[in-house]
Symmetry: C2
Subunit: 433 residues, 2 copies
C-alpha cells in the first residue's frame, strides 16, 4: 500500500485554470469493494459515517474488512491498524482523526484534500452531526487561554513563533500568511500576495504622506508594501517576537526603516491618530468578547476622515473553531460571522462601506501553500519530525477543504466614521490596472 | 420675507461635479443678529436647540425676537407666528416640525436642505438628544399597523398608491423609486437608474434563459430591464395595485409581457425555483421580526447555484424610523442595520459575498428628485394642495439630508447558498464598460 503521506510531490496535479479545489493527489486503489458490514467494527464505523452525513469514504481495517457508507466510489481509504485505534477514533473523531493521522496511526490512501472536503460537505447536510455537535459544545467550554493580554501572547507564540525558516519554506517571497488575491487564474502566489496588498491599499485610498496603523502586521509585508508603493508612514503592531524581529530586519535591508516602525506590542496599546487603520489576519485571534473594545480603540485612533479595513477569516454563522485545530494549530482562534463583526462597528458609530468575501481566493492560496509545503517536506522533517510533517499537512489540507466547501469564509470589511463623507463613490478605482 | 417654499425653482443652484449635498437654495437675510435671549420663549428655544446639539439655526418669533444657539451664522431661520405654534413645536419637535411646516405655520427662510443636515449633525453629536430619545422610544411603542400580511397592504397602499401620475412628475422616465447608481459625476438621473439596474444584473450574474424572481418590484423598471437586456424570464411581486397595473401596461407596450409576469401578491407567497432572487427597496417594509422567515423563503426558492441581491435603506446602528416620516410618509418602514440584516442570511445558511454602501448615491438621487419635484410644484399643488406640496418637499429634503449626513445608509447585499461555488471570483466584471 502506498499512502499519500509517503508519495513524492510529483503526484500532485494542478490545473491552473480549473476552479479552486483542483489540487489532486493521485488516487491508487481506493475503489476496492466494501466487505463485512455486519461485524461490530463495521456497525460502529457505519454509525460514525452516518453521523458525518454518509460521506464517500472507506475504512480498511486490520482484519481486511472494508467499510463504507453507500455505494458511491470513495474518495479515499482510511487504514486503521488495530482495534485500539478504531476505538480512539470513534470516541472523539473531530480531535482524534487529527491526532491519529499526525502520529501515522491512521494512514490515508487516496486524496487527502477531497477526503476532508467530503467530510465537511457531509457535516453540512441538514440534520446531520447533531450528536457530535453536542459533544463539541461541551468540549469547547473547557478550552484553553482566552485572549487576555497574557493569553493572547501565549496563543500567538504557539503558532507564529515556531520558526521563520519553517514558514519561509512555503509562504513564498512575501511571507504573507493570509489569504492572497488572484485577479486572474494565471496569477502566481507571490503575485497574488502583492495584488492583495495593493487591493487593501486601494480600499483605504492611501495617499502619500499619510500615516497608517497596521494592527497584527505578521512579517511586515503589507506595511513595507504600503511605505514603498504608496509613500505612507506606517506604525505596525505585533506580539510575535520572531515576526517583529524578521520585519525589522527586512525594513532595514529595504531602506524603509525610517518609514515603517515595527512595535512589539498588543493592538490594545495602539495610541495616536491615523489616516487609515488596517488589520489583516488579526481579528481571528481577538475574540468576539473584545470586539466592542476594538471598535472603541479604532474610533479613538482613526481620524474623522479616515478609512479602515479589517481582513479576517470568518463564518456564515458562528460555531466554535474545529477542536483539533484549536488544540494543535491555532489555540484561541475564533473566526466570526459578519453579524458578530458588526459589534466592532455599530456601537462605535462606524459606517460599513464595503464587504468582500474572498473565500475562493483562500482556497487557491492554500492550494499553493500545500503544494510548496510538500515540495519542502524533507526539510520540514529535518527541522521537526515526521509527525509534525503529517500534522501540518493535515492542517493545510483541512484549511483548504474548509474554504473550498464554504465551511469558512474570508471577509474584507472597509469602514469609515459614520459622519465622514470622505468615502469612495464607487469601487471602480479598485479595478484599474 | 421670502420663504423658501414660495421661491421659484430657479433659486436652486446645482453644481454637477460638486460632492453630494450641493443642491442649494439662495439664502436671503438669515444672518440677522439674535436678540432677547432671556425671555421665556428665548430660554425655551435655547433648551430645544441644545437638545438638538446646538445647530446653527435661528428662530424668528412673532414679537420680532430672534433666538439662536451660538454665534455661528445660521443656515436658516424658522419663522414662528405665535406662541401656540411655539408650544406645539416644543412639545414634540420631531413630529411637530413636520406638521407645522406642512400646514405653513412654520416657514423656513434660507436653505431647507442645509437646515435638516445641521439638525441631523447636531443630533449625532455624542451625549446629545437624550431627553428626546426617551420620548421617541415611548412613542415608537405606540405605533401603527405592523407588517402582517394585512398590515403590509395598508402600509404600502398609504405611500405607493397615491397616484402614478404624481410620481411620474419627479422620478424620471424609469419610474424607479430607489437609490440610483452614478458611475460618474456627469451621470443624469435616468442614466443612473439604468446604471443601477445594470449593476444589480451584473451582481447576480444574469445569463440568458434564467428565471429571476423580483420581490417588491415597484413600477417594474428593473424586471423589464432584466428581460430586455439580459434575456431572462422574470416573475415580479408587488402588493401595490397601482404599481402593478402600471407595470403590466408597460410590459405590454414594450412587448415584454411574455417574459415578465407581474403578480399582485405579497412576497411571502412567492413559490417556485429561481436562478436569482432580487429585491430592491422592499426590505424597508418587511420588518426585522420577519427576516428569518424571509431568509427561509429565499432558501426555498433559490436554486443551489443561485445568487441573490437585497438592496435596502439601512442604518449604521438600529434606531426607530423618524416619527414624522413614520406618521405621514412611510408607515411601518424600518431600515435595518447590517447586523439585523444578517438574520436573513445566517440562519438559512447563506453566504454573504458582497456588501456595497451606496449612501452618497442616494443623496445624489434625492438631489435630482427634489429638483424635479420643485419644477412640478404647481402641478402637485393642483393634484393635491399646498400642504401636500410642503409635506412632500420636507420629506425629500429631509431624506436627502439623512443620506448626506450619514443618518441613513443604502446597502446592496449579494449572497449565495453557503455551499455554492457558483460565485464570482472577483468583482472586476461589475466595472467593465
Amino acid at each position: 500500500m502506498q499512502t499519500s503521506e509517503q508519495r513524492p510531490m510529483t503526484t500532485f496535479r494542478v490545473a491552473r485554470d480549473a476552479p479552486p479545489g483542483s489540487v489532486r493527489q493521485e488516487s491508487s486503489s481506493a475503489t476496492a469493494p466494501a466487505a463485512g458490514p455486519h461485524s461490530f467494527e463495521g456497525r460502529l464505523l457505519r454509525a460514525l459515517l452516518h453521523a458525518f452525513g454518509d460521506p464517500p469514504v472507506q475504512f480498511a481495517l486490520w482484519n481486511g474488512e472494508r467499510v463504507q457508507a453507500g455505494s458511491e466510489d470513495p474518495v479515499a481509504t482510511l487504514h486503521v491498524p488495530d482495534r485500539a485505534t478504531l476505538i480512539q477514533l470513534c470516541r472523539d473523531p473531530d480531535v482524534q482523526f487529527g491526532e491519529l493521522y499526525s502520529v501515522g496511526k491512521i494512514q490515508v490512501e487516496g486524496d487527502l484534500g477531497r477526503l476532508i472536503e467530503v467530510l465537511y460537505q457531509g457535516a453540512a447536510r441538514p440534520g446531520r452531526n447533531s450528536i457530535w455537535a453536542l459533544r463539541r459544545l461541551g468540549q469547547w467550554l473547557h478550552r484553553r487561554p482566552s485572549n487576555t493580554l497574557h493569553g493572547s501572547r501565549e496563543n500567538i507564540h504557539h503558532h507564529y513563533d515556531i520558526g521563520n525558516e519553517f514558514y519561509s519554506l512555503w509562504l513564498g517571497s512575501t511571507m504573507a500568511y493570509t489569504c492572497a488575491y488572484f485577479p486572474t487564474p494565471e496569477t502566481t502566489l507571490d503575485e497574488a500576495q502583492l495584488a492583495k496588498f495593493e487591493h487593501v491599499c486601494r480600499k483605504v485610498q492611501l495617499r502619500p504622506g499619510q500615516h497608517v496603523v497596521d494592527a497584527g502586521c505578521g512579517w511586515g509585508g503589507l506595511a513595507l508594501y504600503m511605505a514603498r508603493h504608496h509613500g505612507v508612514k506606517v506604525t505596525a503592531f505585533n506580539i510575535s517576537r520572531e515576526q517583529i524581529a524578521y520585519a525589522r530586519e527586512r525594513a532595514k535591508a529595504d531602506g524603509l526603516d525610517r518609514h515603517v516602525e515595527f512595535v512589539e506590542d498588543d493592538y490594545r496599546n495602539i495610541r495616536g491618530s491615523y489616516d487609515a487603520f488596517v488589520s489583516v489576519g488579526m481579528l481571528e485571534h481577538v475574540g468576539v468578547e473584545n470586539y466592542p473594545a476594538l471598535g472603541e480603540l479604532i474610533r479613538r485612533c482613526l481620524k474623522p476622515t479616515g478609512l479602515g479595513l479589517i481582513h479576517t477569516i470568518g463564518r456564515n454563522r458562528w460555531k466554535p473553531m474545529h477542536r483539533w485545530i484549536d488544540r494543535r494549530i491555532f489555540p484561541g482562534a475564533n473566526p466570526p460571522s459578519l453579524k458578530q463583526m458588526m459589534d466592532i462597528f455599530e456601537e462605535s458609530g462606524f459606517s460599513v462601506l464595503d464587504v468582500e468575501n474572498l473565500r475562493l481566493h483562500y482556497a487557491k492560496t492554500l492550494d499553493w501553500w500545500w503544494r510548496l509545503y510538500e515540495q519542502s517536506r524533507d526539510q520540514v522533517a529535518r527541522m521537526f519530525d515526521e509527525n509534525f510533517v503529517r500534522m501540518w499537512r493535515l492542517y493545510l489540507a483541512g484549511s483548504r477543504a474548509a474554504f473550498v466547501t464554504g465551511e469558512m469564509q474570508l471577509f474584507q470589511v472597509v469602514f469609515a466614521p459614520g459622519t465622514s463623507n470622505n468615502v469612495p463613490m464607487t469601487r471602480q478605482h479598485l479595478y484599474r490596472s
